[in-house]
């Protein structure tokens, strides 16, 4: 009796322990299920997008660059576009079958081109569409440690055919079971036996979801039991619609480098370069078919397997009357239509990423960036970015060919910005642009050499009652003593040039004249100008600062030049446009802001002098017509002992700054012209900027002056140049020797007899 009681007690205790253990296990699983599926369903990394390219009627466009962008977006050139992601190009006509992006619908659009302009955009019906948008390129993301990536879909975005296909292939009894279905297992078994291959899986969608969310793929009884409990709990807590949507967003479809592609939303982008809503039935059948073996049926790696599997899924759809026999026949003969992968690696353009991260740090924490599914719309222009990367690599190779292997570890940085709105379009932080590491565009603080001179000359020109472009500067020996140290600046050509007009001193980049001018203006007024230009660095009162000992990073330097190129309007540079939340609403924006810091007239005078750098100075070589149409201007810079080679120049709407040098600060054989300018040139020649419309400055008056003495001259006089002045500041003395040639009427220009007469008389020399 006692023994029986002990056994009963033991069994009772054991049962209680089992019960408590089971209850605890269920409670733990329940907690995990609800914790995972409630609130933030999955961690969705923030994604970085390039700017979307908008095409509008009557805007100027570089056709080659447009085609390049289409190719980057994996559009394929064909003779007659029939499917999204295809285009055709003839002499003056571009036809694109757009994939569609947000409010831009998919379809064929015809773009008439001519004279570097878009003349007309029409749709399939021949109706005018004045504005179309190409999808942006994904340039990377802020991935969590497990590197899962997805694009979350909500019900309105899920096509009906996707639901039908998933249910037909994965779980036909989905709406009738409670998470586990013996019926499904037996039906799948019979179907597969009949088909002679695995058409259907035995696990329900709920089981698959449970397995994917909480368990590893190990095949043990313990895992199967836990999976079954989790499935029942999921069914208990959530509706069928919620479970199906969770499944659609969670399934694993592919591995791209370290990045795991989850969900049909991202799957559509990854394999077809477009949203799920734009996919055809055969494309959806392919994605659903891949669930059985994402690697085995990967259409890029195993196209034959993928085609076979897709056709099998289509046959299931036909059998279930989701598609007709005729549709089935048409769909099974279609090509897979896979786009080339948009993602070169997890992250394109690492230097640009650094800049984006810097801007994000101020407003977002790391966790939000890795989990909240933010869409970060950046300003990167993939065409300019690629061109800048190519230019820096190409130039380095050219320099190695010229100067030898001592330049093997030459480093560099370059930045391109939109002059007017301060949008950063491209950033390169190394001569190996795709590698991660030290980003010289932001972090290399180097002496800027003669790049400092325009800041000093602008300080003078802003005092327009005292200085104009023909004010005579003194370029004779200068010797300053400070603390027992004598400072004697040299010119690059080791010569003294005496009295020269201000604009000549700038485009010839004479050091002594510049140092004297800086000293004359005073440190405080130059410091004020630095601050107006957007330089936030502390100023130190050394005279060597006036000829380039001042140190800045390329990013700081281009900010100052943006203010100059934009006619005195300071605009903080920005690499991000907007950040949208997972629902597509603007969460944060980086608006275009400007502040007029300097009057446009003195800046116009400075820009004229910088244009002379191209016409006759250290950046000469372009035809005058080109320089004029681009409204180009620039400045070379070379630091002491040629340790740094700089060039900054604007052409059209683009401002580009380039730095070349060694990380260990050793001497290079390069000047600003032979080094950095060559990168600029390679880049600009590649992108071929469009014409820039000039600004209207009624207070500016052009007068012929002499390039040696800065006094009045005439078009017919030798050594004369048409120079801009702020009205009322023009020189008013014409030397006797130039009276004759300067008095000749301009209207007589071009007359053969006039020129003959001129030749006989001889101009003033």
């Amino acid at each position: 009796m006692k023994f029986k009681l002990s056994i009963s007690l033991f069994i009772g205790s054991f049962a209680v322990i089992i019960f408590i253990f089971s209850a605890a296990l269920i409670a733990i699983i329940d907690y995990r299920v609800t914790a995972k599926l409630d609130g933030v369903l999955w961690t969705v990394p923030a994604k970085l997008y390039s700017r979307p390219l908008e095409l509008a009627e009557n805007i100027e466009i570089n056709i080659d660059n447009l085609v390049r962008e289409l190719e980057m977006l994996s559009y394929i050139e064909v003779s007659n576009p029939e499917r999204s992601g295809q285009f055709s190009l003839s002499k003056d006509n571009l036809q694109i079958f757009l994939r569609g992006y947000k409010d831009q619908r998919s379809g064929i659009f015809n773009i008439s081109l001519g004279n570097q302009k878009i003349k007309r955009i029409t749709n399939q019906l021949g109706l005018s569409e004045d504005l179309i948008k190409l999808e942006p390129i994904v340039i990377g993301g802020m991935y969590p440690a497990h590197m899962e990536d997805r694009v979350l879909l909500d019900w309105p975005e899920v096509p009906q055919i996707l639901i039908e296909t998933i249910l037909a292939v994965e779980d036909q009894n989905f709406f009738n079971h409670y998470g586990i279905s013996l019926k499904s297992i037996s039906r799948a078994f019979l179907t597969n036996i009949k088909a002679g291959e695995v058409e259907q899986g035995g696990s329900t969608i709920t089981q698959q979801l449970a397995k994917s969310l909480f368990f590893t793929s190990e095949q043990t009884i313990k895992r199967k039991v836990m999976e079954a409990i989790a499935s029942l709990l999921i069914e208990f807590h959530y509706s069928k619609e919620e479970i199906l949507l969770a499944y659609i967003n969670d399934v694993f479809l592919a591995q791209s480098g370290r990045r795991a592609i989850h969900g049909f939303g991202l799957g559509a982008h990854h394999f077809f370069g477009t949203s799920i809503k734009n996919l055809d039935t055969d494309q959806i059948a392919l994605l659903v078919g891949m669930l059985k073996g994402p690697s085995l049926y990967n259409p890029r790696r195993n196209p034959k397997n993928a085609t076979k599997r897709r056709n099998l899924v289509l046959s299931v759809l036909k059998r279930n009357f989701n598609i007709s026999d005729a549709e089935y026949e048409n769909l099974t003969i279609k090509q897979l239509g896979i786009s080339a992968p948009n993602y070169r690696t997890e992250t394109k353009y690492p230097a640009f990423h650094d800049l984006v991260r810097l801007e994000l740090q101020e407003n977002f924490n790391e966790r939000d960036l890795r989990t909240k599914g933010l869409a970060i719309e950046t300003n990167v222009d993939p065409i300019l970015q690629d061109a800048l990367e190519v230019a820096i690599v190409k130039t380095k190779n050219q320099l190695i060919n010229k100067y030898g292997t001592k330049l093997n570890d030459l480093e560099g940085a370059a930045i391109a910005v939109d002059i007017s709105n301060g949008e950063v379009k491209a950033v390169v932080g190394s001569t190996r642009p795709s590698s991660y590491g030290f980003n010289r565009s932001i972090n290399a603080i180097r002496p800027i050499g003669s790049l400092v001179k325009p800041f000093i000359y602008l300080t003078a020109l802003d005092q327009y009652k005292d200085y104009n472009l023909t004010t005579i500067l003194d370029d004779s020996r200068l010797s300053l003593s400070s603390g027992g140290i004598i400072w004697e600046p040299d010119n690059f050509d080791k010569k003294f040039h005496g009295n020269i007009p201000l604009h000549v001193a700038l485009w010839q980049s004479y050091n002594i004249a510049s140092a004297r001018l800086g000293l004359e203006l005073g440190f405080r007024s130059v410091e004020t100008m630095f601050s107006k230009l957007g330089i936030k660095k502390q100023f130190q009162d050394y005279p060597s600062l006036f000829i380039g000992s001042f140190e800045l990073s390329p990013y700081q330097a281009i900010q100052a030049y943006q203010t100059i190129a934009a006619d005195g309007f300071y605009t903080p540079l920005r690499s991000i446009r907007e950040i949208k939340d997972i629902k597509g609403e603007i969460e944060f924006s980086y608006p275009y802001s400007i502040e007029q810091r300097i009057r446009p007239e003195p800046v116009a005078l400075l820009k004229f002098a910088m244009q002379q750098t191209f016409e006759r100075g250290t950046a000469r070589g372009y035809p005058s017509k080109t320089i004029e149409s681009w409204s180009a201007g620039g400045k070379t810079g070379t630091s002491d002992d040629q340790r740094d080679s700089w060039f900054v120049g604007f052409a059209g709407e683009t401002l580009v700054l380039v730095w070349l040098g060694f990380d260990d600060n050793r001497q290079t054989p390069l000047t600003g012209r032979t080094g950095a300018f060559q990168v600029w040139k390679n880049f600009i020649d590649d992108i071929n900027p469009v014409f820039k419309q000039k600004t209207s400055l009624p207070r500016i008056n052009y007068v012929w002056t002499d390039m040696n003495d800065g006094l009045l001259s005439g078009k017919r006089c030798k050594n004369s140049l048409l120079v801009p002045f702020i009205k009322g500041t023009e020189p008013n003395i014409t030397p006797t020797v130039r009276r004759k040639c300067s008095n000749r009427k301009e209207t007589s220009d071009g007359g053969f007899l006039e020129r003959l007469k001129e030749a006989f008389e001889g101009g003033q020399g």
Binding site: E54, I594, K694
Partner: protein
């Protein structure tokens, strides 16, 4: 011959006279700006924000594509959705930088946002355009008085 010459002269004269008499004077009321009282209009523009906004919304872009974006931006402005207005105007500015209508609107937007210095700077920038009308120039000048 003399009669024919007289006849032709009479016909031409009648035709010219009828053309002239058919001309109606330009209806300035359609524009609602009392152009005959210019200084009062300027005062009104400065003093009455609604009047100013109405006038600005009447300024169209030269490029139809840009005009399409502007119409959207104007709708957002009516709803006081300044973030979207800014987004649309910036979008248009990326297509072209030579439309006075855009600088006017963005100067007005910044004014509405209370960013008076920026408003003034955008107006100054718009004034540098060579293709703006006198009326656009006048409206831009209003923002310089902030």
């Amino acid at each position: 011959m003399k009669f024919l010459r007289l006849y032709i002269t009479a016909v031409v004269s009648i035709f010219l006279f009828s053309c002239a008499s058919n001309q109606t004077t330009r209806d300035i009321s359609a524009y609602e700006v009392p152009v005959n009282d210019f200084s009062r209009t300027v005062e009104l523009l400065i003093a009455n924000e609604d009047f100013l906004e109405t006038e600005i919304m009447r300024i169209n872009a030269l490029n139809p594509s840009v005009q399409r974006i502007i119409l959207g931006a104007d709708e957002f402005l009516k709803d006081k959705n300044y973030v979207k207005v800014n987004s649309e105007l910036e979008r248009a500015l990326r297509l072209t930088k030579t439309e006075g209508a855009l600088y006017l609107r963005i100067a007005h937007l910044r004014y509405k946002q209370g960013l008076l210095r920026e408003s003034e700077s955008f107006a100054s920038r718009g004034l540098l355009l060579s293709n703006i009308s006198s009326w656009e120039r006048l409206l831009l000048n209003v923002y310089l008085k902030n």
